[in-house]
Amino acid sequence: MRKLALSDEILLSIEKPARYIGGEVNSVMKNKDEVAIRFAMCFPDVYEIGMSHLGIQILYDIFNRREDVWCERVYSPWVDLDKIMREKQIPLFALESQDPIREFDFLGITLQYEMCYTNVLQVLDLAGIPLLAKDRTEDCPLVIGGGPCAYNPEPLAAFFDLFYIGEGETVYDELFDLYKKCKKEGVTRREFLFRAAQVPGIYVPSLYEVTYQEDGTIASFIPIRPDIPAVIEKQVQMDMTDAPYPDAPIVPFIKVTQDRVVLEIQRGCIRGCRFCQAGMIYRPLRERSLDCLKAHADKMLASTGHEEISLSSLSSSDYSELPGIVNYLIDEYQDEKVNISLPSLRIDAFSLDVMSKVQDVRKSSLTFAPEAGSQRLRDVINKGLTEEVILQGADEAFHGGWNKVKLYFMLGLPTETEEDRKEIAHLAEKIAEKYYEIPKDQRGGKCQITVSTSFFVPKPFTPLQWAPMFEPGDYLGFAKTVNHEIKAMLNQKSIRYNWHHADVTLLEGAFARGDRRIDDVILEAYRLGALYDAWTEYWNYDRWLQAFETAGVDMDFYTMRERSLDEILPWDFIRIGVSKEFLKKEWQKAHEESVTPNCREKCSGCGAAAYRGGVCTARRS
């Protein structure tokens, strides 16, 4: 029996002890004396969230395929255990071996959203690793960051030894081989970092120097040695069909957020919505072949015993073999009662037909994400969804028996006016009217339309990366306008409205487009007790305002300013294939309310064609 790091007394006095014991089906055990590299893979949030992340499962599988590497997992201890570990000075441990993280060669931390940044510090702190990379000694694990937030790593630059920019499938092998070689040669940590900086996609923040202008903008961003690359190339796995995929993902004991097989059908997106970071950084769109998906689905369902499979991608309807994979799963697994879930699906005849086969129509709801209320504003953000398409989809769905609709919008978009915001209410009303056009005896009671708005956060590497944000009071005013207008609608009783907090949006905005001066703010907020900022019950805006003040950093500089097109942005040293010139052109077109066609309709020359693959080289319809 594996010996646990925590005593029975501790495990029996905290919530969900299964978060910390490991031993799950398909978790990988190795002999620590027989591996050269011990890697702790961390998702800096609670177990149920972290275990639901596909990227970690992919890397866990790839790393553990190597005989010389043992990759284990670690998540943020929940607040109850966090307190006990600090009181009793118990070092943070990995789930598999239950050994302290401090003994590992690498600590890899995936950065999926900005509000996890204080949890990154918690993990380092509990592990007994100095928070600042510059304070780490030779025997400390190398702390490496990755994931979408690593596309602007600067707000976390001080806390990481390295960042991996791009998709994890490509150069970890090279990095591991280099590490083994350096270990054998007995070189210093610093020397390893110098050599690692030569590996494509690897960014070592301590090897770059930033200077600032008087107005606070960046004056220069240069490597400290001429042999260190000035530009970091994002890593892309071009061949998705032959890419490794975890055929035996870990099956948690406790119910996690994503309690199902996740089948990534494609990576990237052809749509080019101007607010969407994923739509730019994962370019070009690359599909997995139908045969490969069938094989992965079979193996994963057999190895996990999950009763549900979810097709994952940014826009499932754009997958060219969608009917093929969906029909295969229905035919093969209906008898075994496997549920099929299809998120991010466009509502049309095909999807309604499929959904009626795999879901309980009366219970499920339709989801539309028009993102903006008016056609004018949808053109600004290049969201190619028209009112006509939405109403037609809703109409077909209502006739098919659905009566629940969810609508997602953003508020605070560039050029947005009072009228655009009111249009959100009007669109919801038109959908309700469509429903009540159906004769009373043919419809099932009232319809339920749920309108949700979030506040727009400009993200790096998007055409809207130069846009200013608004004051918290303005955001709440925007939401009130929508609320007021909905209440004025004839069918207001069928429409529900939810909106988000405004202040967390501003912090997210400051982190998303922050530079190295934000590091101090995060450190200060952590010292003041900030943790689990993504969890409403632990969110405390005043603490953050205090941290900005103590650190002497002006939040408005990062949030309220419209950046000039020639400003050096903190993330400009990263190349994602999509050129800054293209983003500028798109920013311009946004102001002209001019739409850019999707990648299948016409190539707009974004720059991703340089990767020579995916949709860029496929024949256009």
């Binding site: 029996m1 406790i254 009662k337």
Partner: protein, 310 residues
């Protein structure tokens, strides 16, 4: 395959009712009852066992557990009843489930059981065996002793040792205990719900161990224990912690939630009424007889109500 007690489920297909026995040891004690259920739902799929589902728009596996085990307890005898669409032999099923299983959960039996609601494990449970040990560092001599002698219920005086405590405790005709219910607190006599209670000395192994169990053997280094056979189930239910707490309380000894390491060793059905309504010749081994006008019991392990599928 015996093919005898085949039933027909709601889908109209022929099904076979099966009882699965498993142990839950080591780190698995931290997995709660509902998660053990989830574990088996997935394990059954991995093992390729063709289980029957409920009808309707959201079908789920037909699966019911005999008696939920609390977090922190280990067990040699957990039971769940399922229904099969395609029969499989006991040996094949046990091998398949253990091959796809985790360390700590071991399937030890797979029995065909008779059709009928009255035969459901959940309905049948009447008694349970436990061995209770003190967790290291929580032995009575390390636990807080109350200064006030008068606080103890029966006033057993000074704590001497576990063996004599068990002896004195069992010698009582009545053991009134304040039991909390959802609405109120009332005094209950727990003595009739204790079917058996004895001291298990440090060197020996508990007789109650019906299955060979590696985890138990390892504990032989810290072996002093109390064996308990208690009423369990919907009619009367007594928790081993309450018995131990009450006994220690009589010496003015306070306990904590971590004082005991409890292992459930077996679950029983009371087959007395069904097989022998008169209750004349019930002096079989391990079974209690008529006492103070109580109905006689004939305790049969839940596994013994089924038979191996060949």
């Amino acid at each position: 395959m015996t093919g005898s007690s085949k039933a027909v489920n709601t889908e109209g297909a022929s099904v076979l009712k099966v009882r699965v026995k498993f142990s839950k040891q080591g780190n698995m004690k931290f997995i709660g009852h509902l998660d053990v259920m989830r574990y088996f739902q997935k394990a059954i799929r991995r093992a390729g066992i063709d289980i029957a589902y409920t009808e309707g728009l959201s079908p789920h596996m037909i699966m019911s557990f005999a008696s939920p085990l609390g977090v922190g307890l280990t067990s040699d005898a957990e039971y769940m009843d399922i229904e099969l669409r395609t029969p499989i032999s006991s040996k094949e099923a046990i091998d398949a489930l253990n091959r796809v299983g985790v360390e700590g959960i071991t399937v030890t039996g797979f029995y065909e059981i008779p059709e009928g609601k009255a035969n459901k494990a959940m309905t049948l449970v009447a008694a349970a065996d436990y061995t209770v040990r003190f967790r290291a560092g929580y032995e009575p001599e390390h636990l807080p002793h109350s200064a006030q002698e008068g606080k103890s219920l029966a006033g057993f005086g000074q704590w001497k040792d576990l063996a004599s405590a068990v002896e004195s405790f069992c010698a009582q005709k009545e053991i009134p205990v304040w039991k909390k219910t959802k609405k109120s607190e009332k005094e209950v006599d727990i003595r009739p719900m204790i079917y058996e209670m004895r001291y298990v000395p440090a060197t020996g192994q508990s007789k109650a161990q019906t299955e060979s169990d590696v985890a138990e053997e390892k504990k032989a280094a810290n072996p002093e224990a109390v064996f308990l056979r208690l009423a369990s189930g919907s009619a009367a239910n007594l928790k081993p912690e309450l018995v131990m707490d009450t006994m220690l309380g009589m010496y003015g000894i306070g306990t904590t939630p971590f004082t005991y390491e409890i292992n459930r060793c077996e679950l029983y059905a009371d087959t007395a009424e069904k097989t022998n309504p008169g209750g004349d010749d019930l002096k079989a081994d391990g079974n209690d007889t008529d006492r103070d006008g109580e109905k006689p019991r004939r305790l049969t392990p839940l596994s013994a109500l089924g038979r191996e599928i060949l």
